[in-house]
Subunit: 194 residues, 2 copies
DNA sequence: AAGAAGAGACCGAACGTTCTCCCTCGCGAA
DNA sequence: TTCGCGAGGGAGAACGTTCGGTCTCTTCTT
């Protein structure tokens, strides 16, 4: 098989495991899914899971880490080549609505996860906080380049709209949600003179 | 909504049960809490729980039903006596930020619950949808009295901001979140000529 | 020969639920 | 007034299932 280019750290069973965990955790939640279900659908044995991960919590962290990397890459790709900071913000907005309107959308993986791990000291909770801080910083930094006023307020506004759109996007028709979100983003940009 | 017991025969053990369930479910989630924990802290026996509720799910529905009634009463009280529709919207906004800034705030009980019950056919999921529909309708109806344009867009905008504020209000300092939310509400009202 | 993976038994604990037994309290009938 | 009876609640055993996790053994590949 063509597995040689992957490197020694990623094996096919491990990839199946992470793929399956990602799919099921995102679609159905974390606490309500047992490891039996995951190893069954990933077609690996119990021992294989515990060979690659220290336990279920480690698998959840790997799931969130992969989601984090994917979103960072998506945001990076979305803003690449945009002629202005305002257009980069718009591109990020379209990236978000693209997710909301895609099939199988079940809300923000991080907001969903933190709802199941409210303890701020828990590693999973902290992983969510780290992702959110990065996103807030990224958006605020970009909005600071639109207009010359401080952008903290605008950044929080953008993230608040995003959180609301992501939370409600899987609870009703996503079309109006996406439209309302993009209108809100335009409002933020307009308030900064873009 | 759930269990057939009328409000007339509210026994002390049943009240302790619902109080305890409300406190623990809201603070720690639903799937991660067992009935052992609830009956232990409520100081009732197993049989008493199943005498008043058909099962854990019924207890969760009763928890959400009580939360729904509380929020409806709170919204009703907040808008009572406000001289204009715009001021009523502002009062609802302050009601929401009051919750966010209160001690023990752990986000929206309904958004947290629906994150654990993504199946749209599940009774708990549907209870969340019903509550959200009522809230959207209430806010939209109020905003329709501010300005003379259709208020569907503004209502969705308000709810989206609220969802974002509730979701992030327990993940970082609630003060800036509350401020950003109220500024957003003022923006919605201003856009409608209030 | 060595390491990864499969197969599956096994563990103690927790899960939601049902069950029996006994005690207490309130209320209507005698 | 007293009796009895049923409902509500306490105490706890027990149900079968599932949980996350560990174990041994074999097979396959390199």
């Amino acid at each position: 098989m063509s597995e040689g280019t992957e490197g020694s750290s990623t094996s096919a069973p491990r990839a199946r495991l992470l793929d399956t965990a990602t799919r099921i955790f995102y679609a159905e939640g974390i606490h309500s899914v047992g490891v039996d279900r995951i190893i069954s659908e990933a077609q690996v044995t119990r021992a294989t899971l515990y060979r690659h991960f220290t336990g279920k919590e480690d698998l959840v962290l790997a799931y969130l880490d992969r989601a984090d990397r994917g979103i960072r890459a998506g945001i990076e790709a979305a803003r690449a080549g945009e002629p202005s900071a305002a257009d980069a913000v718009r591109a990020i907005g379209r990236f978000i609505t693209g997710g909301i309107e895609s099939t199988g959308f079940r809300g923000c993986a991080f907001l969903n996860a933190v709802a199941e791990y409210p303890d701020p000291a828990h590693p999973i909770h902290q992983a969510v906080l780290a992702h959110r801080q990065w996103f807030l910083d990224t958006v605020t930094e970009l909005l600071a380049q639109v207009g010359d006023r401080p952008a903290e307020e605008a950044g929080r506004h953008f993230v608040m709209l995003r959180d609301g759109a992501m939370a409600s996007g899987c609870l009703s028709d996503p079309k109006p949600i996406a439209e309302t979100f993009l209108l809100g983003v335009e409002g933020i940009l307009r308030a900064r003179g873009a």
